[in-house]
Amino acid sequence: MESFYLQSANEMLGLFRPGGAPQVRAGSRLPIQVVHVHEMAHRQLCDATSLGRYMTGLAILGGRKPAREERANAVLASTLQQCWTVHEGFATYSQMLECRRLARHDLVEAKEEYLRDSYLSALGRFECDEAGLEDVVREAARLRDPQAVHGALLLLLGYLGHIGAAAAMSIPIGAVLAEGPALTEHRTRVHIQRNAPDVRLDSVLQHLTPQFRAAAIRRIVAAKPAVPSATNRWLDDVLSDLVRDLCARAEISYEPADAVSLPSLLGQEGISVVETDARDLPIGTMRDYADEVLIHCGDDFREAIENPVPLDRGRVVHEELIRTFGHRPHVVCEIGSIGQEIMLFMHCFTSKAALSSYYRKTGVPEAELRRLEDIDEESPAKVWLMVLSLDYGASLPEVPRHFGHERWTWVSDYQPEYTRNARHFEILGRAGEVCAVALPTSLIKSRGGTRSRSSHVSTMPFSGTLFSNLGERVLERMPQDLCLHEFATSDLPARVPVVRLGMMRSDGSLSDAAPASFQRNCVAATIYQGFYSEAYRLLAQRGM
């Protein structure tokens, strides 16, 4: 019998649930930061619009009150139906801008190959042709620093997308919610149906004309303080004004995000929450918020955690890497205990130059080489992650000897509370001068998830530009930021005996001239990808 297949599609790369942090799966076709930006766009709409905040309230209700979970989820799903196009269109639009920022034009050009039709269709609502962007380009070009023009243009385009999406999502809802318990009431749902953002979007886009875009950009540029501001309130205010103006032009009602009070709404359900006005938070705090992400590492990593490689075996693999590439890679190690086990998560990086050389020697497709040309010189390329098992307390100081490195450097101090655990204290005491560094490595496979002879060694996809800003900020405020990025530990049972004892990195491994920023980026990439937090999560699932 002949069959007709609908879209076969189930590679889920990211997830966002209102009220939570974006979740990203590493090791997929898309760089994690691209997926992160997509999910962050959802969070942006949930934080900055009236309907988004209502949805956040529903998600919190479902999460905190098991008896109300089913109902809250049903209403949330129903609400999402009314704004799916706005949410996914804006998120996918933001994702495309991030691809351009990363110089991953291949991902933009080939979007039809990997985006489902529904996302493409929603994206199409937000894209505009180049003719409509002339004024935006002109404004970006007025910036003095030519190097900044491209980034500025993408930023401005992002603001324009936000204005359109936020206008559709800023429905009048405060009065309905103020009438009494309202989160899951039918009258609220009916009201949302009558003010569906996906329907409002049609009017919004008709008025998001080239003239409006140009005027909006001029207002944003003009509003920027001459002296750097401590907060982003100025930006938030001007964007809110523009959203309001756009709604007025489209002849649809507008209500700001703060018309929805989550403490009040959730208080009616017996849930206490405290709100912070993010407009007045320091920019650095908001960047940390924007960087927040929970990364899931996939089956390969799960297997690696549950079956760590003995140190000796890791050394064999490491030597193989060096033979293959003829030079030492940069290494960042996360060291931690899981129950009675000490594990070493060894992240091996190389540089653009080294990767390029390897590509040429191994004859990778020309397109891959061209793509590499667009990547910053100081971007780290993660090529290996090894999960090694260390004897408790015994072999940590020996790690450098196993891998033939001269120096290692701690990049984070352990936390004082770790010393309350006598065994942790013993380990760190023995570590002594272990200052790690210079794990010379190299790569074997750069892409595609192929494995080495050791079944416990996972390859990671090429990382591209990885959060250079994050790296700078992490390192300038060490060690606190390292602890900040231990995700979700508070959700775990108290008896899970897992702790990251510290991190160390190789020092100047690729060459004597390895720039400090490259090393920082390697650390940032390690932190950002949060493998250690994945270990927490897996252990929690196992009920440890």
């Binding site: 019998m1 002949e2 069959s3 007709f4 297949y5 609908l6 879209q7 076969s8 599609a9 189930n10 590679e11 889920m12 790369l13 990211g14 997830l15 966002f16 649930r17 997929s28 076709r29 898309l30 997926v35 997509h38 999910e39 959802h42 998600a59 989820n73 049903a74 949330l76 799903a77 129903s78 999402l80 139906q81 009314q82 799916w84 196009t85 996914e88 998120a91 994702q95 190959e113 990997y114 985006l115 489902r116 039709d117 529904s118 996302y119 493409l120 269709s121 929603a122 899951t184 009431e185 039918h186 009258r187 749902r189 009916v190 149906q193 009558r194 569906a196 996906d198 329907v199 049609d202």
Partner: protein
């Protein structure tokens, strides 16, 4: 004829067609916002529509288009339209030939039930109906006849005019 063309021929927009496509090929409770890509790794699921099912989907699409024209909502959100088509199709697969209005009733009750008939007519999808008409439809849904004549209950009442959907 492809499934996509079949749906498009019924008058549904491309976006609604693609959302129907998503809904039939993805298991999700709909309360999260996932980024799902096309599967090129050879893993995962695919939804197959056999020849026998095509008329069911076509009927679901046609009924929905007709119903949209009869309601007073100026425009429906694409995902809401897709949800109606998918529910109609899935019930037809279960040998339950619902009308579009009955499907819309079930969607309302699933999302926000239990509800009274008075509350149901507040919904944009129901507002052209009277309370008594809605009550009559609900009564029919309590003993709904399948193709083979077997009756099944799709909604139930608490006796106080509060209705909820059963196993939607």
């Amino acid at each position: 004829m492809s499934v996509t063309r079949l749906l498009a021929n019924s008058g549904l927009s491309d976006q609604v067609v693609s959302l129907i496509d998503d809904a039939l090929s993805t298991q999700s409770d709909g309360a999260d916002m996932p980024l799902i890509l096309k599967n090129i790794a050879g893993r995962g699921t695919a939804t197959a529509l056999h020849n026998d099912d095509l008329p069911l989907l076509e009927a679901a699409a046609s009924l929905t288009v007709g119903y949209l024209g009869a309601t007073s909502i100026v425009a429906w959100a694409p995902a809401a339209i897709a949800g109606l088509v998918v529910l109609l199709y899935k019930y037809r697969k279960k040998r339950l030939e619902l009308s579009a209005m009955q499907a819309a009733l079930l969607i309302e009750l699933k999302s926000n039930g239990p509800l009274t008939a008075k509350e149901l007519v507040m919904s944009p999808a129901m507002e052209k109906l009277t309370e008594s008409e809605v009550t009559a439809e609900l009564q029919r849904l309590t003993r709904f006849a399948r193709y083979d004549g077997v009756r099944t209950s799709l909604v139930e009442s608490d006796g106080q005019d509060m209705w909820r959907a059963v196993d939607v």
